[in-house]
Amino acid sequence: MQRRKFLKSLALSPILVAGAGANLDFSKIKGKASIIDLDRCDGCTSFDVPKCVSACKEKNAARFPKPVEEIPNYFPRKINEDYSQKQNDISRLSPYNWTFVEAVEVNSKKVFIPRRCMHCDDPTCQKICPFGVISKDKNNAVNIDENFCFGGAKCRDVCPWGIPQRQAGVGIYLKIAPKLAGGGAMFKCDMCADLLAEGKKPACETQCPKNAIIFDDKAKILNLVEKAKKQGKFIYGDTQNGGTSTFYISSVDFAKIDEAIAKKYENTGQVGRPHMKVKVDNFINEDSTLIKGVLTAPLVGVVAGAIAVAKARKIKKEEL
């Protein structure tokens, strides 16, 4: 009996270990979140560069990649992703531009949409990173550690919006396998995690002249989102990818905004310019039955083993 208990606990120990390290502070209602009010954002048309974009660039300049001169290609391909010569391009997300303002027209109405990481509740990028270098802190800020990132760009592939952007010729891959593996480092908005940790506001919020961007406790933000819903406003970010910590509010239907975005880039491609599809599934959350199945496998194996042991004993008894 004792042995059985011991073996059961052995089989479950990895799950218990995982549980012990789980940061359950995070939840759909805790931490921080933001609202981006498209009815307030005017795209800073009176400025050369939208204020949220310039504030973001200024705040994060020290973290921008500084690639080596001879950037290796992604063997066997003869290409690499290098944006170092396009650092001033603010027309899309890039390793040097973590926020950009999309501009579309819907029913003769101009709509400006500041785009950046959504800081998902269950970030596919973080959960699926093969090197475990993407973190999500208690403020819900999802951050890529560019010092340990290999630049395989898997996070961009699994992000429903393709947010993280890759710069070749920087990062740890140069020291390990510059020709055969990795491709640089990935860069994206980190919600100004350092400022939030100090109780300060992110750069894009403080510089926005229209108060179109608000960061606050998630519970408060959710209340504001509910109010906006009651006013008949459209919301984006509440259900997409299983929920996020970024809520867009607009009088214009997001399905129409997405149509306009798709039309705008139909001939040029949309890399670095995220869509606004209303239906966005989180493919990792969808597998919850499979995940639970894997987690119970040790117990299933032990139970089957116990049955086999009992059966073998019975056979032995019969033989005697």
Binding site: R3, L7, L10, S13, P14, I15, V17, A18, G21, A22, N23, L24, F26, K28, Y74, P76, R77, D121, D122, K127, I128, C129, P130, F131, G132, V133, S135, K136, F148, G152, A153, K154, D157, V158, A181, G183, G242, N282, I284, N285, D287, S288, L290, I291, K292, G293, V294, L295, A297, P298, L299, V300, G301, V302, A304, G305, A306, A308, V309, A312
Partner: protein
């Protein structure tokens, strides 16, 4: 006229099922695990016939979950069954390192091998190495799997080290499998490979090579 070989049972059906269950699961996990790395599109594997799926992380993730369930089931079953029955024939014994070298030397250059029990000393060492690596992969894999549950967010350090050790485990298991299969380069070991399919080995082979395996020798004497 060809002399009919007397065969004795060395591996029970259960052992063979567990062995091949672990082997097939491990191969499925290595393949799907590789495709969980950003290699398919880069190396244009997804452009090969019938390989388009390899570029889809969701497909290889599901494949990885299925392989993981199967591997963990067989490993847990195997450990429980043999620990409960106090069967530790395949666990390393003192002096296995030196004995392994002597056996390999004898296979390469001729000469007399030290006598063996049911398992050769290098088999015991290989089992222990592969077993430990599999346990490392399973424990880190379970942590990585738990993290994928909706609403779960593991501590940064735990997640980082699980990922690193899981990747290290993948390299070690590949090396372990290469080492395991390399054993069959030697002709003397091949009857043991056949035994993993049929379960049976030549009685004379047991008498000659595994003379310290009491039960096996008894069975071989009965057959002779």
């Amino acid at each position: 006229m060809k002399k009919i070989k007397k065969m004795i049972l060395r591996q029970s059906l259960q052992n063979r099922i567990v062995h091949w269950g672990v082997a097939v699961s491990t191969f499925a996990l290595i393949i799907s695990g590789m495709f969980q790395m950003p290699v398919s599109k880069r190396y244009m594997i997804n452009e090969l016939p019938l390989m388009a799926w390899s570029g889809d992380y969701h497909i290889s993730l599901i494949m990885h979950y299925v392989g993981a369930f199967s591997l963990i089931f067989f490993v847990a079953f195997h450990l429980f069954f043999h620990i409960a029955r106090a069967e530790f024939d395949i666990f390393p014994k003192k002096g296995d390192g030196v004995k392994s070298l002597k056996i390999i030397k004898a296979m390469l250059f001729g000469g007399v091998e030290p006598k063996s029990e049911k398992y050769l000393p290098e088999q015991r060492l290989a089992y222990f190495f592969i077993g430990l690596v599999l346990l490392l992969l399973i424990s880190t894999g379970l942590i990585k799997t738990a993290k994928n549950l909706a609403g779960w967010n593991l501590s940064e350090g735990l997640y980082f080290w699980s990922a690193q050790l899981h990747n290290l485990g993948m390299i070690l298991i590949i090396l372990g499998i290469i080492g395991h299969l390399a054993a069959f380069i030697f002709k003397a070991n091949r009857p043991l490979l056949r035994a993993m399919f049929s379960g049976k080995v030549d009685a004379n082979y047991i008498k000659e090579r595994h003379s310290l395996w009491e039960e096996g020798v008894k069975m071989a004497d009965k057959e002779s």
